[in-house]
């Protein structure tokens, strides 16, 4: 149920537009996990990269601040060192230089010169010849006098560093011209400083192993440059960038030519001196800790990402499994529901729709027929004699037969036709768009043929037939109930007409079915309403022609339909169970009549027919005894007629019943003798008094030798057994003559013996008394001869 809802929802969404379709796609479980993963990973990596950016920026800022701080410190130290040098130069110039050695000696003793360990002070003549020095005097000075003389008076000259082999030391010479008051060159003062002194502020803690401290001249040549422990002297900077004027707070990052190291670089020209200092911090070193942290971040984030993906994958799998198992359960439920539905609407045995389902289908089909204006038909089918197959071969075989029949019926029908089983051996077929007799007959014929072929059941070859009733919508009913009922009625008539047959419903059937129904109802009341009558047919002695006895015959005086003979209602009486009370009534009525007549001096034998149902009834003897006592009939005057087939049906029981009857003293006659198959040996054991030769032999007796032979044999046999022989259905004097010649005892039949009511028969009996010996041909004229009604 949920499925369909889903489908509807998604369809609705799809119809809305591409945006909705995208949304629908994104809301699928797999996409959901993908999206969650995407969002989480984006957030994670976004945060990490942001952290990295902050880390880098912080590291850069720290490095830059550090570079500026170092540059500031370096600048202050440098200025102090240079100022001291300049101060020394000024001091010397201030002195009276007539005796230079003495000047230096004096200054030294008074500690006015910079430390000798790092500095040397030399005074030279204007031509460059050294005059005095705090160090051992050398042959020449290393200052370019020409260059120095070109400089303004206050400007000092910073020479290129020179190597002193005597103590393996690099010197940096700061020199100034000594001038006479009128401005002429009087000499040169030189302060030589240990070059390394200017980069001795290099601290590993702050500058690292690849930092840089340097001092450049305005000529762009590094007087000295230090990186770690390696110091370079007098090397060109190789780039104008070092001397470019920029803000003190500026830090630039660039790769340094000599070692390719990128450094945060700060350069500052030193005020008042032709020098620029440079500070560099290695980018790699300064960012090392940040880089390490960044690496940690990236590794962590990668690990977390992988864990996240694994987690989501596991969750996804779990979800999918859950979904699968849910779907499975749902499918099972649906299958179960379908199974139940199927069972509710189908016949378990044949798999055909059952009655309730068929009713629905029929209603639908009728509604469809109403809409389209086309007719539709309904067939009612019932297997003939299914009950006996079921009884003899067992229920399993019966079920098998029904299944096979169902298959066969379906096999010969159209796809659109619906076959259903209503239960038992009843089937119905719904044929849409069909109403004409011709195709319906054809279809019925196919069904009859298909069903009629033999079946193998329980190892036996079985044949069965089916009866079909057809009703057509809307002609035979406009509602489902009527249509079904009429098809049923039609089917019933098909059965009546000999089975293996098809009948269409018609108004005639309707009438006869009404007749049948009213018959059954009326027969029920016939007893109470005293509508039953007894007619009497005489039995005459063949020799004398005199009436010796009579047979009581049942008639129904129907208030509307007139006189009805038993043949017309005996089946209904049998089916409805009325046959027993009716039989008893007839017996009792005959006995009373016989007693009445005896009392009037007409003591004739009374013969009464027993029906098969009566004869088989266990209460028969009891009932018979009661009637005999009540009516006070002389038992020997009552003859009960039993047909040969009734005896043969259950021979031992029949013999027993006959003996019991004999004990009561009544006579027993075998009716319709010759049609059954009783053997002579059996006949001699029967406690009977009379044999009645079946009318069919008598009818043919004149022309057929065989009939004559049968009649002769019966008569001879009866004689032998000492029985009274009665010929039935005698209709001519020729037949009487023949029977006479064969020494038959009595005869019955329309010849002289027309059945008549008691009043007329009484007259006949009385007239016989008066006209003893005379043949009365006119007694029967009061009764309308009716062949059909005459013979029971």
């Amino acid at each position: 149920m949920n499925y369909s809802t889903d489908v509807v929802t998604s369809r609705t969404l799809e119809s809305v537009g591409p945006g909705a379709r995208l949304f629908e796609r994104l809301s699928r479980p797999r996409m959901q996990f993908f999206l969650i993963a995407l969002i989480l990973l984006t957030a994670l990596w976004g945060a990490t990269l942001n952290l990295v950016r902050i880390e880098i920026r912080n590291a850069e800022q720290t490095a830059m601040v550090s570079a500026l701080e170092i540059a500031g410190t370096y600048e202050a130290q440098m200025i102090r060192a240079l100022t001291e040098i300049e101060h020394t130069l000024d001091l010397v110039a201030f002195m009276d230089l007539t005796n230079p050695e003495q000047v230096l000696e004096e200054l030294s003793v008074n500690h006015l010169l910079p430390p000798a360990i790092l500095f040397a002070v030399t005074i030279a003549a204007a031509d460059g010849v050294p005059l005095a020095s705090t160090r051992p005097l050398e042959a020449r000075i290393y200052v370019d006098i020409a260059e120095l003389s070109l400089l303004p008076e206050e400007q000092l000259l910073v020479s290129q560093p020179r190597f002193d082999e005597s103590n393996e030391q690099w010197w940096l010479d700061f020199s100034r011209m000594l001038r006479t008051p009128d401005g002429e060159a009087a000499g040169v003062t030189i302060v030589s400083a240990d070059a390394e002194y200017f980069v001795s502020g290099y601290e590993r803690v702050r500058l690292g192993a690849r930092g840089m401290l340097g001092l450049l001249g305005s000529d762009g040549i590094f007087r000295i440059r230090r990186t770690g422990d390696s110091i370079a002297y007098g090397v060109p900077s190789g780039s104008d960038i070092w001397l470019e004027t920029r803000e003190d707070s500026a830090v630039t990052i660039f790769g340094h030519d000599w070692d390719g190291e990128a450094r945060y670089t700060s350069t500052r020209p030193i005020f008042g001196f032709p020098l620029t200092l440079a500070v560099g911090l290695s980018v790699t070193e300064q960012n090392a800790s940040a880089t390490a942290r960044i690496e940690t971040y990236l590794v962590r984030t990668t690990v977390v990402s992988i864990l996240l993906l694994v987690l989501l994958y596991i969750l996804g799998r779990l979800r999918r499994q859950l979904h699968r198992s849910r779907t499975k359960v749902l499918k099972e439920q649906i299958a179960h529901t379908r199974q139940i539905e199927y069972l509710a609407f189908h016949d378990g045995l044949t798999g055909l729709p059952n009655r309730s389902f068929f009713t629905k289908l029929l209603q639908q089909s009728m509604a469809e027929a109403r809409r389209s204006g086309k007719p539709m038909s309904l067939m009612f089918l019932d297997l003939d004699k299914f009950k006996s197959i079921n009884d003899t071969l067992g229920h399993d075989a019966g079920d098998q037969l029904l299944q096979e029949v169902a298959i066969r019926i379906k096999g010969v029908l159209r796809e659109s036709d619906v076959v259903a089983r209503l239960g038992g051996d009843e089937f119905v077929i719904l044929l849409p768009d069909t109403g004409d007799e011709q195709p319906l007959t054809e279809a019925s014929r196919k069904i009859l043929d298909a069903v009629r072929s033999s079946y193998m059941l329980a190892g036996q070859e079985i044949r069965t037939t089916i009866s079909i009733g057809v009703s057509v919508y809307p002609h035979h009913g406009e509602d489902e109930e009527t249509l079904m009922k009429n098809a049923d009625i039609a089917m019933y008539h098909a059965k009546e007409r000999g089975r293996n047959n098809v009948r269409f419903y018609s108004n005639h059937i309707y009438t006869s079915s009404l007749e049948r129904m009213s018959f059954e109802t009326n027969l029920r009341y016939a007893l109470e309403n005293d509508e039953l009558r007894l007619f009497y047919q005489g039995k005459r002695d063949l020799a004398t022609g005199k009436i010796t006895g009579m047979e009581a015959l049942l008639r129904w005086q129907h208030p509307e339909m007139g006189l009805i003979v038993p043949r017309q209602f005996i089946n209904i009486a049998e089916e409805s169970g009325l046959i027993i009370p009716i039989g008893l009534w007839a017996l009792e009525a005959a006995c009373r009549q016989s007693v009445v007549w005896r009392k009037q001096g007409l003591p004739f034998n009374m013969a009464v027919n027993l029906s098969a149902a009566q004869f088989g009834d266990d209460e028969l003897i009891k009932d018979l005894k009661a009637i005999l006592q009540e009516t006070e009939i002389e038992p020997g005057k009552l003859e009960l007629e039993i047909t040969e087939s009734m005896i043969m049906n259950d021979l031992p029981k029949a013999i027993g019943v006959m003996h019991q009857m004999k004990k009561l003293g009544v006579r027993i006659a075998i009716d319709d003798f010759g049609t059954g198959y009783s053997s002579l040996s059996e006949l001699k054991d029967f406690p009977i008094d009379t044999l009645k030769i079946d009318g069919s032999f008598i009818a043919d007796i004149e022309g057929s030798k065989e009939s004559q032979g049968v009649a002769d044999a019966i008569i001879a046999m009866g004689r032998t057994l000492g029985l009274v022989i009665v010929a039935e259905g005698v209709e001519s004097s020729a037949q009487v003559d023949y029977l006479k010649s064969r020494v038959c005892d009595e005869f019955q039949g329309f010849y002289l013996n027309v059945p008549m009511p008691s009043s007329q028969f009484e007259l006949l009996l009385r007239s016989q008394d008066w006209l003893s010996g005379a043949e009365s041909k006119n007694t029967g004229t009061a009764v309308v001869p009716n062949t059909a009604a005459a013979i029971l």
Binding site: Q77, R80, A81, H111, P115, A116, I117, L118, R135, P136, N167, E168, Q169, D194, E196, Y197, F198, S200, G201
Partner: protein
């Protein structure tokens, strides 16, 4: 046997000779040995090598008893000066220069003042109870006290 004995004797003699030579060398070495001295007026009796080092390398400005210490160097480039730093303090001249170079440049100290001659040194030390210097042992007179040999 005789040859064995004589051989042994020879070895013994050689050993003795070598030792006497070593002794002679040691005595002259001992006389030239650079010792750290203070004025007799200075109550300090002796100093450890590291205490001397601290004073001469500008790490400490006082004697262990808290009185001010003023180190005095011999002349720059003199033999005594070189020997003191190498033999007593175990430093090369270059190391000392680098040391003072850094301290001076960064403004954290000044190297000891130096005197022109050993005679001047003796005089300076003797007259100044705060001063401390180094000199060859054989030049010590009663005005000085050796605090580290």
């Amino acid at each position: 046997m005789i040859s064995g004995f004589s051989h042994c004797l020879c070895v013994l003699l050689a050993c003795l000779l070598m030792q006497s030579e070593g002794l002679a060398d040691e005595s002259s070495h001992k006389a030239n040995k650079m010792v750290v001295v203070v004025s007799r007026a200075n109550p300090v009796q002796s100093l450890s090598k590291s205490q001397v080092e601290d004073i001469f390398l500008g790490k400490s400005l006082a004697f262990p008893d808290g009185r001010r210490a003023v180190p005095v160097d011999q002349a720059e480039g003199s033999e005594e000066r070189g020997r003191f730093y190498t033999e007593v303090l175990g430093r090369t001249a270059a190391q000392i220069r680098t040391h003072w170079s850094r301290l001076v440049f960064t403004g954290r100290g000044r190297p000891p003042r130096s005197v022109g001659s050993r005679e001047e040194l003796v005089q300076v030390i003797a007259n100044d109870p705060q001063s401390i210097g180094y000199i060859e042992r054989h030049l010590i007179d009663g005005s000085l006290r050796v605090v580290l040999e």
